[in-house]
Amino acid sequence: MNIAEIKEEVLESLKNIKSLPELENFRISYLSKKGKVSLLMQELKTFSNEEKKKYGKEINDIKLFIEDEFKKCFNFLNEKFIEEKLKTEAIDVTIPVKNYSIGHIHPCTKVYNEVKFIFKNMGYEVITGPEIEYDEYNFEKLNIEKGHPARDEQDTFYINENIVLRTQTSPVQARVMEKGKLPIKMISAGRVFRSDAVDATHSPTFHQIEGLVVDKNITFSDLKGVLDSFAKAFFGENVKTRFRPHHFPFTEPSAEMDVSCFKCKGKGCRFCKNEGWIEILGCGMVNPKVYELCGLDKENHQGFAFGIGIERLALLKYEIDDMRLLYENDVRFLNQF
């Protein structure tokens, strides 16, 4: 057969091929062991050496030509085939997933974790203490002797004459100081109890975080620095803090810290009762009397303490208006944090 004719024929038949199986038939008839190109090769063996040289090249060229055309056609059809196959696998990506469910931690835990994170970053240790406590630690070592009016302010649950449900996390302070190892730089968090009936702003169980730093030369201005940093970390860098004189039996001087209302930026709104400030925590320099009561030398110890109500922070941060919600455990509430 004339080589040029073969070329014509190949181009003509490839033009009509529309599928991969058809192309496979083409391959078999031209490029397989018994295909037309192979036949030409066998024919060539019968030629003289001179003719071999001449036709050999021609046959080789035509072989390369067919292989090349085949490959082009294969690539084209293969792409088309994959594309069509993928099309049949189309899905509706907007169908919602089933059984999606992630639980949440309680808003109080969330707030506690944040506060803990802030103080740990400032180098504080985390220490725990018992929730049921000796009267001695809860009151006496904190300069609240029997008959002190503060015992009425913190209505106390008693287990017996000497054991109470702690009314504050401060007894942990006494326990740490008693050990007498300086420096102290700690926070302690946990449940506290006061015999308040349940209402929108009171609960007989709530949580506090206590902080204590004691060394030889800790100052009131250090206290301000630390708590101002805490407020900025927790409420945002733009909040301002304000320290007001206050009274706690175990600190002197004592203060309460307010932050500028983060809703109205201090202008005064319903949230801050038009004051522009929101009360956040109580703090002060450890009362020298407390060092004495904890068996430390009051001349050589100086430090500060503070106490933060976790529920209070949670109510403020998440704008929850009723404390009871925190203890109802309704997932429609818990789901929001």
Partner: protein
């Protein structure tokens, strides 16, 4: 503690700041203003008017037409009030003026504007006002409902009624901390005001004239000196009981005290001024002219002046005459000696009683009064004497009685001015400030802490009323209050501790929170106390440790009477709460302390942290909860945890679907399906499965030490093993045999199918395991693996387990 601006200005006449500025500044020096209220808020264009003529309304029986002289003119006003009469003087709001309320409407606190209008066809130019329409409670002013009658007041027609009624005042409510007993008094606050705004303080007048002598008008015997350090009296003869002058009444009204008569009002006024309760006895009722201060007899009865019978005990201090009790010391007087309109002679008393004793008595009797609230704070005995003088000065000023030359008193052990010396340098070191010594002195002098300087030492005289100032730290606080907390800079301590990694407790807690929340569990919080009935409901056995509950001596009620020894009730109650609210598929957990009674009640109870989780809804069954357990155990490094149903006794769990959980033979918790009986009592109509893990044990056993184990480079070989066993047969046995007989080559064992059905004999099931073998040093050949499998099969045959054919 309430005080009004006009009341304060009696002692700080130069106080002239806006209420906002006042509140802000006084708060920053330590006397916090909690709220303040202008009494004339929403009041305008209100004058004193006189009704000159009243006519019937032509078209309305209940209305009358008044002609009212308001000074500049006579206006016609229609009113429905019943108490009007010709000649009545009353407040009148003129057209476009404003009142606080009208017909009980307060327009959301914005006030009500009165316009001229027509009432049933008759024109009306304004409104006659009741005191309530001016925003003040009727009870503080009068017993009569209706238009407020000002006929007895000194005023002229056309005067500004707000000024006449002293409503141009501001009432401040101060938060006074318990240490500042001196500030439970208007003069105490006035001193703070004077120091804060740097204005003069004017002491109240305590000078008076006496008019007769009677050295023996009373004899006083104080039996319990430790409970009564001062009992001071004066006799007032020819008393003229009548209404107090308006200026005095208005001071009391502003702080919410109803004026009664001049003597009662003076004792109340002085109590407000000095923070010192006083008492006035009808002298004629005191038998034997004797006062005996002593504790009551157990069970003794006494009628207080509120008409209530009180039963006393032998800790309660009483004031007696020769025969009877006259009053409960520091709390309330008796009906038998109270002053009435007919009183001729008054014994006026100011005393000092032990604060703690007053508090206990008041608590035991359930009787709290203004007086007990003050006494229980522990007052300054010297103040009683000053207050008595002040009351006499007012009696003298008002000319309402003759005062005895003598003040018969028992005064025991009066405290005197103290002197404190502190180092200025030490104060600066405490505060982190550089306040000059003379500046400290200036501040201290301002608040009556008179100071002299000697080099670095401040010598300070502390008046007795400042019982809170005991030492160096208290002086530091006084200085910084007026130096300004805001003027102290922000610094940081230089305490450096070596940072610590999280300990096991924190690591375990992190894992629990992560696993539970990622698996859809919500954290809950419940109270630590509950009802003892819970333990019946959960059907605990007598010997379960949960029965060792701690009782609270003074609980909020039965529902809060014991400390919880388990978190199961909280979990089930919360699940029930959600179920009732139709929340579907609810999974909850709580990590909290339980409290177990210590046999030695001198020692603290045992506190244990416990994790409880449980759920109802789709896909939740015993194995789901077990899966969560396994995830937890895996993450905290507890492998080969064992589940056993042999020794679990909790009756609130399904008897055939419950198990104790052990790790290395240590009990670490339990899980199970909650019994339907219990669920019924929680009103849950779905299957609930719960798990309880002992957190402290988990932390102790948890292993977070990780070391690399070599991974095989050679291909592994898998085999499946299908076995037929009796239905009640526990697969743990099979697992044990497979592991024991596989050696190190077995890398993974998976029970992946359990079949029960028609292809098996009755009472049998088949279980199919997949075993994966591999070696670290060679490619396994079939013979090796076959040998192991055959060994397993023959061992299984020994306990009656057959290969499924």
């Amino acid at each position: 503690m309430k005080a009004s601006n006009n009341f304060l200005k009696l002692y700080v006449p130069n106080l002239n700041v806006s209420e906002k500025e006042f509140a802000e500044k006084i708060t920053l020096t330590g006397t916090k203003v909690e709220t303040y209220e202008r009494l004339d808020k929403n009041l305008s264009n209100i004058v004193v008017g006189k009704i000159t003529k009243i006519e019937k309304h032509p078209d309305a029986d209940k209305l009358v037409i008044c002609m009212v002289d308001v000074g500049k003119e006579i206006v016609q006003i229609v009113t429905g009030a019943k108490n009007v009469y010709e000649g009545m003087i009353c407040p009148v709001v003129l057209p476009n003026g404003m009142v606080k309320t009208s017909h009980n409407i307060d327009n959301d606190g914005k006030g009500v504007i009165i316009k001229k209008g027509k009432l049933r066809g008759v024109e009306s130019f304004g409104m006659l006002c009741s005191i309530e329409e001016l925003g003040r409670p009727n009870s503080l002013y009068t017993d009569v409902d209706g238009i407020f009658d000002m006929s007895n007041l000194k005023c002229n027609v056309g005067d500004d009624a707000i000024k006449v009624l002293e409503l141009d005042d501001i009432v401040y409510d101060f938060e006074i901390t318990s240490n500042r007993i001196d500030c439970y008094s208007v003069i105490g606050i006035a001193k703070e005001v004077a120091a804060t705004f740097e204005i003069d303080y004017v002491e109240p007048n305590t000078q008076f004239k006496t008019s007769f002598s009677d050295k023996n008008y009373i004899s006083i015997d104080v039996k319990n000196k430790e409970l009564c350090s001062v009992f001071s009296t004066r006799l007032i003869k020819n008393v003229d009981i009548k209404e107090s002058p308006e200026w005095l009444k208005n001071k009391l009204r502003a702080v919410g005290i109803r004026p009664i008569n001049n003597f009662v009002d003076i004792t109340n006024f002085v109590m407000m001024e000095y923070g010192q309760p006083m008492h006035a006895y009808d002298y004629e009722t005191i038998e034997g002219k004797k006062i005996i201060v002593k504790t009551a007899r157990d069970g003794e009865k006494f009628k207080t002046l509120d008409g209530q019978d009180r039963i006393l005990d032998n800790t309660m201090l009483t004031i007696n005459d020769e025969k009877k009790i006259l009053g409960i010391a520091g709390i309330m007087g008796g009906e038998n000696s109270m002053i009435t309109e007919n009183v001729k002679t008054v014994l006026l008393e100011a005393a000092n009683f032990n604060g703690v004793n007053v508090r206990y008595t008041s608590k035991k009797l359930g009787l709290r009064t203004e007086a007990s609230n003050l006494f229980e704070k522990g007052l300054d005995p010297n103040n009683a004497i000053k207050a008595l003088d002040r009351a006499c000065a007012l009696i003298c000023e008002l000319g309402i009685g003759e005062i005895s030359d003598e003040s018969i008193s028992i005064i025991d052990n009066l405290t005197s001015e103290r002197e404190i010396s502190v180092s200025a340098n030490k104060i600066n070191n405490l505060l982190g400030t550089k306040i000059e010594t003379y500046e400290m002195k200036t501040i201290l002098d301002k608040i009556d802490l008179y100071t002299t300087i000697n080099n670095d030492t401040l010598n300070i005289k502390v008046p007795t009323i400042r019982k809170d100032i005991l030492g160096f730290a208290d002086i530091a606080e006084e200085i910084i209050r007026f130096y300004g907390y805001d003027n102290v800079s922000l610094t940081f301590d230089n305490v450096h501790l070596i940072p610590k990694l999280k300990d096991n407790n924190e690591l375990v807690e992190d894992e629990l929170y992560n696993i539970l929340t990622y698996n859809g569990f919500f954290e809950i919080m419940n109270y630590s106390f509950e009802s003892q009935k819970v333990y019946e409901k959960l059907m605990y056995n007598d010997d379960d440790f949960e029965m060792k509950q701690i009782k609270i001596l003074n609980p909020l009620g039965e529902d809060f009477s014991v400390m919880r020894t388990q978190l199961i009730n909280g979990l089930l109650s919360s699940l029930s709460n959600n179920y009732k609210k139709q929340n579907k598929n609810v999974k909850l957990f709580e990590l909290a302390n339980i409290y177990i009674k210590n046999e030695n009640d001198k020692e603290l109870p045992i506190e244990k942290k416990v994790l409880t989780f449980g759920a109802y809804g789709d896909d939740v069954d015993f194995y789901y909860i077990k899966l969560i357990c396994e995830k937890i155990f895996n993450q905290i490094g507890l492998f080969d945890v064992r589940y056993s149903d042999l020794d679990i006794k909790y009756n609130f769990l399904h008897p055939y679907r419950r198990a104790n959980i052990y790790f290395k033979n240590k009990l670490i918790g339990y899980l199970g399906e909650v019994s339907f009986k219990v669920l019924k009592s929680y009103d849950i109509d779905k299957t609930v499965t719960i798990c309880n893990l002992y957190f402290d044990e988990l932390c102790e056993l948890a292993d977070f030490n990780k070391k690399y184990n070599e991974v095989s480079k050679f291909p592994s070989v898998e085999r499946d093993l299908s076995l037929v066993i009796k239905k009640e047969f526990k697969v743990d046995e099979i697992k044990k045999i497979i592991i024991e007989n596989s050696g190190k080559l077995l890398k993974h064992l998976d029970l992946y199918d359990i079949y029960e059905g028609s292809q098996l004999p009755d009472g049998f099931k088949s279980v199919t395991y997949n075993l994966l073998f591999s070696s670290l040093d060679h490619t396994l050949v079939d013979d090796e693996v076959d040998a192991i499998i055959n060994k397993i099969i023959s061992k299984l045959n020994e306990i009656g387990v057959e290969i499924r054919k």
